[in-house]
Amino acid sequence: MVLAIAPGPCDHRPMLALPAIPLLALTCVPVSAWAVRRAPRTAPWLAVLPAALFLLVLTLPDGAGFRLAWIPSLGVEISFHLDGLSRLFALLITGIGAGVYLYAASYLAGHAQLHRFLATLTLFMAAMLGAVLADDLLLLFVFWELTSLASFLLIGFDAHRAEARRAAQQGLMVTVAGGLAMLAGVLLLGRAAGSFSISEILAQGDALAGDPLAPWIVVLIAIGCFAKSAQWPLHFWLPNAMAAPTPVSAYLHSATMVKLGVYLLARLNPAFQDMALWQGLLTGAGAATMLAGAVLALRERDLKRKLAWSTVVALGTLVMLIGIQDPLATTAAIVFLLVHALYKASLFLIAGIVDKKAGTRDAMQLRGLGRRMPLTAAAALLAGLSMAGAPGFIGALAKDLLFTVHVGLPGLLPGIALVVNAAMVVVAGVVAARPFMGAPMRTEQTAKDPPVAMLVAPLVLGGLGLLLGMAPQLVAATIIEPAAAAMLGRPTGIALAQKQGGMLVLTMSLGALALGLLMFLGWRRIQPTLAGQGWLDAYGPDAGYGRAMRGLAVGATALTRRVQGGSLRRYLAASLVLVFGGAGLLLAARGGLALPAPGLWATPAQLALATVIAAGALAACRIRALFGQVMAAGLVGFGVGILFLTLGAADLAFTQFTVEILAIVLLVAILARLPFHALDARGAGERRRDALLAIGVGATATAILLAVLSVPFDPAIQGWMGQAAVPEAKGRNVVNVVIVDFRALDTLGEIAVLLIAALAATVLLRRAGKPA
């Protein structure tokens, strides 16, 4: 491996700090597990890691890059690149990450597995950072899959709950299946572009869109992103992922995991934005997701699941905005991404507090917590107002941009946007306002504000929503525009501080707010009606997933029962017929049947040995006593060993002898231990069939060997090895030199297989010794 730190096409400053970001996080995985296990009170201090990384990401210059050859022959590199888009994501991951760490340390305080939780969370954060900073598509893919694995562990953290296990498996199945499609798309993209480097691919502009592979690339990568970002109809895993501890939900939904699909779509947007397929796929899937998510959010009573459905809505909105080719839509996507991350993380954390303090997450039951939990209520209000798009909050800015984009769109889309946004107002009201309003509900313990550590993140994130709403210029030129420009491939030319849109947009904004308020007031009556629509569950994709998994299990059981009948003789016959029948047919069909040149025929001594071997084989078939059969088979083995000797293959003969001894000892030992009553229960017909099979296998093997020998032998390799063995590998025994040196990598593979086989055999033998 060559250490080559060379600047990429767009970067001017090679930066070691860049790869250090995911690397540092990865290093902290075992460290955090060890530290928290030894001293649980160190847990809150782990928040220093994301906070430090946040500052690092903030200070690194745009265009910072790092390249290191990884698999040069395939053009795969360990390369990282920082631009506006990756910076925005990295800031969200680390910034919200810091809050989540602080919250989790308190939320799970005293939990026996806290160290495991925090270590997995760190792994997850490292994978996310690697994925958004990677400049090589395959490196990105590796991190992408790592996020799936880490989230599997996080969702299934409470592994004793069946619900958590199912949710973890479901998330993994959906995202990894999508990842497989994405890998195919990535490989095609690398082939079409001639490089796996994202900056090199983007430097080609929209030229790639004309490639004949482009439709395949777009569809495959979109499938991967849709699965990751929970687009309809692959959205169902996301609400089930609520089985995870609340800090994970907050993190997964706001800044990470589901945003990764959005990231990659935004990342590749400059290359494909002019393709009708790209636009159609993204706007179509996005709009469908928005609508489905809104309906499902309205009928949900569980706070966390309700928020989860609203995340589906947000993801649909983002994907749709990426698909709309208008600089305004690009800016809207980036602003909404930021808005959503802030309020969603905050609301999830609040839902966790409410769940813990009030003992329920049922929105119908939660009432009047505001007086007892004033700080929590304040944080909820801040986040909820931003979510609803109340004037003064950055959420309002996002909503204005959104509607400005939508009024220009054809068909039903503006209407869909209006209804969906009204639904979001309802969710905001039900999650952030309703639990805190009205007469106090009865709770088992006195509900009160949680420790400060759990309130910091919701309050800061909610406060940011207000601050940025008042002063969007704080991030407009430094964060928003660079990210939007990276997503568009050129500057957007949109000044964020200005009021967007005209009267129509204002009307839509206010209309959505008013409609949402109306629906919120009537939600108590709307919800049961919607929840009563059982067909939504019965025919939804989640039920389909369940049916598919059950079908898989039933099918596998049936197949196993059919194929694995339990008769060893059958297995052997099936394997032999398949292998030798296949090989023989192939040989005959390709015209490979041939006789070697006469010079290779045997000497008298070898002929005599061959006679002995044949006699041993015949005897093994004819003798009825098992011990006799073993001895006869041994005769064959030793005969072959001596034959090797006469051909000058001392090493081979040596090995043959030792293996033969081991085999005989083993067989005799088994025969001595096991009671064989019926020696041969086969009928005459079966015996004839077995004999035919044996003769067929022998004949095929002979034909193959003869065909091999008839191919002219190229002595060049043998000659080279003979000459090179001593100077290159300091050995005169060419066989051993080949094994340990020239083909050492093959040997390593072989001994690994040996050990795996021994492991499997040990497990089977141990199980055989015990009663089933």
């Binding site: 030992a669 005169r732 066989v735 051993n736 021994a758 040990t762």
Partner: protein, 135 residues
Amino acid sequence: MPDSLILRASARYVLWAGLALSVFVLLRGHNEPGGGFIGGLIGALGFVFHALARGPSETRRVLRLDPLAWGGIGLLLATASGLPALLLHAEPLLTHQWIEGLPIGTAIPFDIGVYLVVLGFALAFVLPFLGEDSA
């Protein structure tokens, strides 16, 4: 298993003789017929003889570690012997490095690794069949 005094008494000596032979075969393998594969098999034969005479539990005591653990150590050793090339000399994995002018190099730990894997593999398969203890 047949209980024979001669067999029992000689088992230990045969084991050590077998192991000595196997190590000899292992080390000479680079120049004469032999090497890790054959050496490991011969070593396994020594242990099998011991197990036949004294029972596999006794053999496992002599082995100290589970055969699979020996195999694992061997695989680690073989892999590790390939790392110097990668890390120190920027050459492909398992390009063996030699001490200048001497026939001593990373191929030797590699072959020892092969020896241990083959030994562990053979014993993991055979020992469970040789006695009542299925360990």
